[in-house]
């Protein structure tokens, strides 16, 4: 993943919410449009829960509108519940979806299998 280079015009949503409690790990989403790179990438960092799943979904939607194939980079996600899984399901209906997950992260094999996400998206484990 090339997330260290900041391409021209990415849409940043950070932090997740102005009113987020100090106890919440900082969470943000960034959308790197498909320019030189194909597909477009949505990178999520931190905990995704009720308070910020809307922004996650918005970033995914923005990506799906711009590109027929999108990659959700979830390798830096530290918490993720069914709401986020639902957002990924919706994105998979709009575009061809690849999900990058880390083996030690919250989106583990159980979650993928139980939700059926592994049947509608390509799961990649970069590490």
């Amino acid at each position: 993943m090339t997330n260290d280079a900041t391409p021209a015009g990415p849409a940043h949503h950070r932090p997740a919410s102005g009113s987020a409690s100090a106890a919440s790990p900082q969470a943000w989403f960034e959308f790197l449009p498909a320019g030189e790179r194909e597909p477009a990438i949505v990178r999520a960092v931190g905990d995704i829960d009720l308070t910020n799943v809307g922004q996650f979904q918005a970033a995914l939607h923005q990506a799906a509108a711009a590109s027929s194939a999108i990659t959700a980079d979830m390798t830096a996600v530290t918490y993720c519940d069914s709401a986020a899984i639902r957002a990924l399901f919706i994105a998979a209906r709009q575009a061809q979806l690849t999900i990058e997950v880390s083996t030690a992260g919250p989106i583990n094999e159980t979650l993928l299998r139980v939700s059926g996400l592994d049947q509608i998206a390509t799961i990649v484990t970069p590490d």
Binding site: S24, D47, L50, R86, G105, Q119
Partner: protein, 1397 residues
């Protein structure tokens, strides 16, 4: 006063104290009395000195360990007298203590002690501390000492043994092995002041020994003679005893040894242990003389050390010799192969000449005796048939040897393969049908031409058909041609007896015949199929065979279309209409004779081609044979046709053989091509006249002696003188009479013959030389050369003289190095007038050979300038051998540098590919299953196997005997060399060569040498890896568990690399009633011996804990156990039983450092009750006790061994404190993190010196309870943060923690929805409560809210993807037990996670 120790006290009391400066004990100051009492009551080894003379006291431990035979003499004497031998070392130290009042510390100080009757090398770690009198003045000193001699010497010897085993190269010669070993032994001149290694050699008088290595002693020393001759009645070293396998101890105190070197010591050794280098199942290889350290006793350890050194040397020699043997065997095989080829080549040539002289007359006789007696005719037929057969065999052998030598000359022309093949087949039709077999020829036209050497292709098809007929008794023979996969395919199939499967791999092997099979004839040389394969390969094709025994055999030939695969320069235009040459006849004749009722009797010669005379076309020797018997040959040169005819008629009638030409130039060419006995030439002719002809003939050494008779119309003295001066032998003026001409001709011939007799003799002599011989002038032109030389360079005598640069000198463009070498040699030759030089020569057929030439100058016979005679010898083989050696040396070095097996195989493949110019090299290793692991060069991609042909080749050769090499067809017309890499079928190597490049004998040989080296190296490397794997497995078997129950973390660091075990251990043992036993222990010593004891104690502690009522009883049981295991005494052990339900730990300590207990708040204390002595050290009436401590929620308990906290010059308490503070700082962290922090914080700058074991237990923390308001969703993050923190403190693993976190998050998120859905706006805010508790090995989680439950709407089991409802499913999937209790006042979700699964 001396009551503290009865025995030493008794002896102290016996001292005549009045004679010492201290006076009677009753008068001693209190401080001295106290010091003596402390001394005597201590179990540590101590001595002290008091007063002006430093009067000596010691206790029982010191007496036992150090003082030895000086007791009780030493008591009460001045210390300087007691330790006179080491006073230089210790005196100044004591003075320092007395002067400064500060203690000294010395570690492992070398002291020579005379305690056992000789000065003994010993090492001591000791501290001298001041003793003060009642007034506080320093008046004496106390020495606490522990002896390190065993450890220091043991480590020193281990280092030497480890050095010996550290040889990085895998294969060495015997001398290299010994040299390496010598360098290592030389580094330990303390234990081995000098060594000598002798090897036995058998000589005529018996066994002699020669010096093969030495350390610490100069060559030529009287103790180190280079040879111990056989039969010496009194050798320097006792050879006879050693040959019997004994290891004598030899005294070195003898005049014959003169002054011996002393090694690391000041005095020379007095004894040497001489040990045979044992050979498995045979007499020793030799022996090692190990001079012994005079300052150490030759105890069991010392003997074992010398024994291990000797064993290592013997193993090294065995390995080197076995390698040499293998190497020699491979070379002998190659040499045999070469000799065989040469032999067949020579013998075949020799056969052809007599065969010609048999077959010619036989054909003539058959013609002449056509009407003779049938019996005579029959016998002639027999001679003729067998002559043909012999001729066929000889031709085949010649072909094979030509191919073998890479000298087969092929001419490929575009041909209609189908037509050519069909025609060849038709020759066999009558024979096949006569045999009662069906003959199917299926040869439709092909789309493109195939380039064939017609002669070779005939041999291929005829051999295969002949073979099919020979082994087929019923059914049919089928020959078919087709195009397939871009190649032309020719298949010859029969329904014969087939080939047994086990014979298939050797089918194409030369001289291999399948024995005991039914066939039409028992004749056969076993080279037919080998020849066919070679010929097909020359065409860039492949041949394969498939066969079913009893059902038939099919040979399939694949040839590429076009000519891209053929060497340029071998192509010729299409020849004339195809006809079957005479070479078919021997095949058909032979086949017919196999059939019942001899076909020859039917007399149908008209149907068959008439057999032709076997005439080796280029065999000039054949015509030369007849030379003497034939009449003289006369060459007539005249431009007048009438004159030519007249002269010819005249001379023929007189019995001469006459040739005529029309001018001088033609005459010169004719004579050069074939020497005449006489040249009769007109003077006046076009192009070159008679005088010019004479001059040219005389100028050429070869033709200078040919007599010339000039004819001229010009009469007169001058003309005749001119002619004679030019060198003519006679001169005849036209007109001349016939009688006169004949008389002159006869005289010239006879004179010339007489004159030439000497030169002919010389020529015969030169031609008889085995070496090449040549004659050159000063310009380097070769004027004359013998047959051997011409054969060497491949040029015929027609080309003489050869001017510089000779046609065989390498081309400067194509081979600059070769050209430079030749030019350099030529310059030297011109400057020095001959000499010796070795030059590359490009043989006429293109291959390069190396000639060693030697030449010397002599005056020219005509007096002008000088000539050079030289000899030339083919040294190609020697040069190749030298290059091979160099290649092998480079190969061995490259392999030695490679580390693991896989890296080594890649290196080997790369080196072999480069050495033999292979396209790729593949190596297969078979383990238990069928698919081998493939390595190679170029590197195979991950998971890439080998192609079918390569796999096939590897599989074929893996079962062959070691050191055999097979040539096999590869993919797409390539060829392969393959060889096994061991004798067990578990590895093989194959090299693939580009299409159309036949594999030469040299390449095959080089491949064989390299692969047999690789086989050696591989075998050794595999052995090593296996041994290492076994060692690791055994170590892991005695190591502590790495999979610990929930809540535990452990760290273990052994002190002695590369060992993974040591004397320390920890253990966690699940006990009934949800209790857990924990143990930490520390055996005496380090390294493998300590680990072996540790393994036994660890097993024992598990057993006793399961059985015993409590820790004290468990330790008491261990006491009994330890007393029976050598080396287990004095082991320190801490043993405890954790009861999480009761929140207690019950423990007992056997001399072990106290564990640290830290509360969740960071307070700590030590478990330092119930302490007692180490294992098996308890006096008989002592009992072990136990104590119980409370485990507060979230407490951390750390067990450890002293390596963690013990530091030199620092009290133990300080280290324990430091460790406790570190644990306290991380009292809330996950146990794994605590363990990491402790290990890194406590690591000394130079790393841990001793084994370290650490075991950490986290008692379950107090339950978690958090309440948040559902009004603010951001509180969810707070909830998760608290839960994360709690789970870490509870020691829950990260995977389980993630599952729990998500399940809790889902439940809480659900609660939020309850709070917002369908609630009246004025209702009280919903509260969400999360509680978590750790119970034994489970976590119980409760999420409760005060809202109303949202029904999960029937999607509990299988929600449509992407819809709401995954939350509940996740909870069920991630947790082990989930119950939901909805009610009107709120919902409670209870979930349990089992941490053991």
């Amino acid at each position: 006063l001396f009551a503290a120790d009865e025995e030493v006290g008794h002896d102290l009391a016996a001292v005549d104290w009045a004679a010492t400066p201290l006076g009677l004990p009753g008068s001693w100051p209190q401080s001295l009395q106290t010091a003596v009492d402390i001394l005597l009551s201590s179990r540590f080894s101590m001595w002290m000195a008091w007063g002006a003379q430093l009067t000596f006291f010691c206790n029982a431990a010191y007496r036992r360990h150090t003082l030895g035979r000086k007791y009780p003499w030493a008591l009460g004497r001045p210390a300087s007298e007691v330790w006179a031998e080491s006073w230089d070392d210790i005196g100044p130290r004591i003075e320092t203590v007395l002067a400064t009042g500060k203690a000294t510390w010395d570690e492992a100080l070398l002291l020579f002690l005379e305690r056992s009757g000789y000065p003994e090398e010993s090492y001591h770690t000791f501290s001298y501390s001041p003793l003060r009198d009642d007034a506080g003045a320093v008046v004496g000193m106390l020495c606490v000492v522990s002896e390190d001699t065993e450890r220091v010497i043991g480590e020193r010897r281990m280092t030497t043994l480890a050095d010996l085993g550290s040889d990085p190269s895998v294969v060495r010669t015997e001398q290299e092995t010994l040299d390496f070993a010598a360098r290592q032994l030389d580094r330990n001149r303390r234990d081995l002041p000098f060594t000598l290694t002798y090897l036995f050699d058998d000589d005529d008088n018996g066994v002699a020994a020669r010096l093969a290595g030495s350390t610490g002693i100069a060559a030529g020393h009287p103790a180190a003679p280079a040879v111990l001759p056989a039969g010496d009645p009194d050798p320097v070293w006792p050879v006879a005893v050693l040959l019997r396998g004994e290891s004598p101890l030899v005294s070195l105190v003898s005049a014959r040894f003169a002054v011996l070197p002393a090694g690391a010591w000041s005095e020379p050794p007095v004894q040497a242990l001489v040990v045979p280098l044992a050979r498995h199942g045979g007499p020793p290889y030799g022996f090692l003389v190990a001079a012994l350290n005079r300052y150490r006793p030759l105890d069991e350890g010392y003997r074992a050390f010398v024994g291990l050194v000797t064993g290592h040397l013997a193993a090294g020699i065995a390995s080197a010799r076995s390698y040499q043997d293998q190497q020699r065997r491979a070379e002998e095989l190659a040499e045999l192969d070469r000799a065989k080829t040469t032999f067949f080549s020579n013998i075949s040539h020799e056969f052809r000449t007599p065969l010609t002289l048999i077959m010619g007359p036989v054909q003539e006789l058959r013609r002449r005796l056509a009407g003779a007696d049938p019996q005579v005719r029959e016998e002639l037929e027999v001679i003729g048939r067998n002559g043909l057969r012999l001729g066929k065999l000889v031709n085949m052998l010649l072909d094979v040897s030509r191919i073998e030598a890479g000298r087969m000359q092929a001419s490929y022309e575009p041909a209609d393969l189908a037509q050519v093949t069909a025609e060849l087949a038709s020759v066999f039709r009558s024979a096949v049908e006569r045999a009662g077999l069906a003959f199917k020829v299926d040869c439709p036209p092909l789309p493109e031409p195939v380039y064939l050497d017609r002669g070779m292709w005939e041999k291929v098809v005829l051999n295969l058909l002949s073979n099919a007929l020979k082994f087929t008794f019923d059914g049919s023979i089928h020959i078919a041609v087709r195009a397939e996969g871009g190649q032309a395919v020719v298949a010859v199939a029969d329904t014969g007896i087939g080939v047994p499967a086990r014979e298939m791999p050797r089918l194409f092997e030369r001289f291999h015949r399948i024995e005991h099979t039914r066939s039409r004839s028992n004749e056969g040389s076993g080279i037919g199929l080998a020849l066919v394969q070679e010929l097909v390969q020359l065409h860039g094709g492949t041949i394969t065979a498939s066969s079913t025994e009893g059902a038939g055999t099919t040979f399939t030939i694949r040839l590429p279309f076009g000519h891209a695969h053929l060497p340029a320069g071998t192509l010729v235009p299409a020849g004339h209409a195809a006809t079957v040459s005479a070479s078919a006849d021997p095949f058909v004749q032979e086949a017919l004779r196999w059939l019942p009722g001899d076909a020859r009797d039917s007399g149908g010669t008209g149907a068959r081609p008439v057999p032709e005379e076997i005439t080796p076309a280029n065999d000039t020797a054949a015509s030369a044979q007849a030379g003497r018997a034939l009449p003289a040959r006369v060459l007539i040169a005249d431009d007048n046709a009438d004159m030519r005819e007249y002269l010819a008629r005249l001379l023929r009638s007189a019995g001469y053989r006459v040739t005529t030409v029309t001018d001088g130039q033609a005459a010169l060419d004719a004579v050069r091509a074939d020497l005449s006995d006489l040249v009769i030439s007109d003077v006046m002719m076009p192009r070159l006249d008679g005088l010019g002809l004479v001059a040219a003939l005389r100028a050429d050494a070869r033709t200078a002696a040919v007599p010339v008779l000039l004819l001229s119309a010009r009469a007169g003295q001058e003309a005749s003188i001119e002619g004679l001066r030019a060198g003519a032998d006679d001169y005849l003026v036209k007109p001349f009479s016939a009688a006169e001409l004949l008389a002159r001709a006869r005289a010239s011939v006879e004179l010339a013959r007489f004159r030439n007799r000497e030169s002919q003799f010389r020529r015969a002599l030169i031609d008889a030389l085995q070496e090449g011989f040549f004659l050159t002038d000063e310009e380097g032109s070769i004027l004359e050369a013998n047959q051997a030389f011409l054969v060497l360079v491949g040029y015929s005598a027609d080309g003489l003289p050869f001017h510089w640069p000779h046609p065989w000198v390498p081309d400067p463009g194509a081979d600059p190095d070769g050209w430079a070498a030749a030019a350099q040699a030529f310059d030297d030759y011109k400057r020095h007038g001959g000499g010796r030089y070795t030059i590359p020569v490009r043989h006429h057929d293109g291959h390069t050979i190396w000639l060693a030439c030697s030449s010397a100058s002599l005056p020219s016979p005509d007096g002008h300038g000088r000539l050079f005679v030289g000899t030339a010898r083919d040294v190609t083989a020697e040069r190749l051998a030298t290059q091979r050696e160099a290649t092998l040396a480079g190969f061995a070095a490259a392999l030695a540098a490679a580390g693991e097996i896989s890296e080594m195989l890649t290196t080997a493949a790369r080196e072999i590919a480069a050495a033999v110019h292979a396209r790729q090299v593949r190596i297969a290793l078979w383990s238990s299953h069928d698919n081998p692991a493939i390595a190679g060069w170029p590197r195979p991609a991950p998971g890439e196997g080998a192609s079918a042909a390569v796999t096939g080749a590897l599989d074929v050769v893996r079962r062959q005997p070691a050191a055999s090499v097979a040539v096999l067809p590869g993919d797409e017309g390539t060829s392969q060399l393959a060889a096994p890499l061991d004798g067990t079928g578990s590895s093989a190597i194959a090299a693939e060569f580009p299409a159309g490049r036949p594999v030469s004998a040299e390449v095959r040989e080089l491949f064989s040498v390299l692969t047999s080296h690789l086989a050696q190296v591989l075998a050794k490397a595999r052995d090593y890896e296996q041994t290492r794997a076994v060692a690791l497995t055994l170590q892991h078997a005695i190591l502590a568990p790495t999979e610990l129950p929930h809540g535990f973390a452990a760290r273990y660091t052994p002190a002695v690399p590369p060992l993974e075990v040591g004397g320390d251990w920890y253990d966690v043992i699940p006990l009934p009633g949800q209790r857990t036993g924990v143990v930490a222990g520390d055996c005496v010593g380090r390294g493998l011996p300590a680990a072996a004891v540790m393994g036994q104690l660890r097993s024992a502690s598990q057993a006793v804990l399961l059985r015993a009522a409590g820790p004290a009883e468990a330790l008491a049981d261990l006491d009994i156990f330890a007393s029976r295991i050598p080396g287990a005494e004095c082991t320190s052990v801490f043993c405890a039983i954790l009861d999480p339900a009761a929140g207690t730990v019950t423990y007992s300590s056997a001399g072990h450092p106290p564990p640290i207990l830290v509360t969740a708040g960071g307070d700590y204390h030590l478990l330092d009750q119930a302490r007692s002595l180490p294992l098996a050290m308890l006096p008989a009436d002592w009992r072990r006790s136990q104590a119980t401590a409370t485990l507060p929620p979230g407490a951390t308990l750390m067990l450890y061994t002293d390596g963690l906290v013990e530091r030199r010059n620092q009290p133990l308490d300080k280290g324990i404190d430091a460790a406790a503070v570190t644990v306290a700082e991380h009292a809330q962290d996950h146990p794994d993190d605590v363990a990491d922090h402790v290990m890194s914080t406590m690591t000394p700058a130079a790393g841990y010196e001793d084994d370290v074991a650490v075991l950490i237990y986290r008692h379950p923390p107090a339950p978690l309870a958090v309440q948040i308001s559902a009004a603010d969703p951001s509180c969810l993050a707070l909830l998760r943060a608290r839960l994360r923190q709690w789970m870490s403190a509870a020691g829950i693993g990260s995977r389980e923690a993630t599952d729990i976190l998500i399940a809790a998050g889902e439940a809480a998120a659900n609660a939020f929805e309850h709070a917002t859905a369908g609630r009246p706006a004025d209702a009280a805010p919903v509260q969400i409560t999360l509680s978590a508790r750790a119970v034994h090995t489970t976590v119980q989680l409760t999420v409760a809210d005060t809202g109303s439950w949202q029904s999960p709407a029937a999607d509990r089991d299988q929600p449509a993807p992407g819809t709401r409802g995954h939350g509940l499913i996740f909870m069920h999937a991630l947790m082990d037990d989930v119950t939901i209790d909805p009610s009107a006042h709120g919902t409670t979700v209870n979930m349990t996670k089992d941490l053991t699964s």
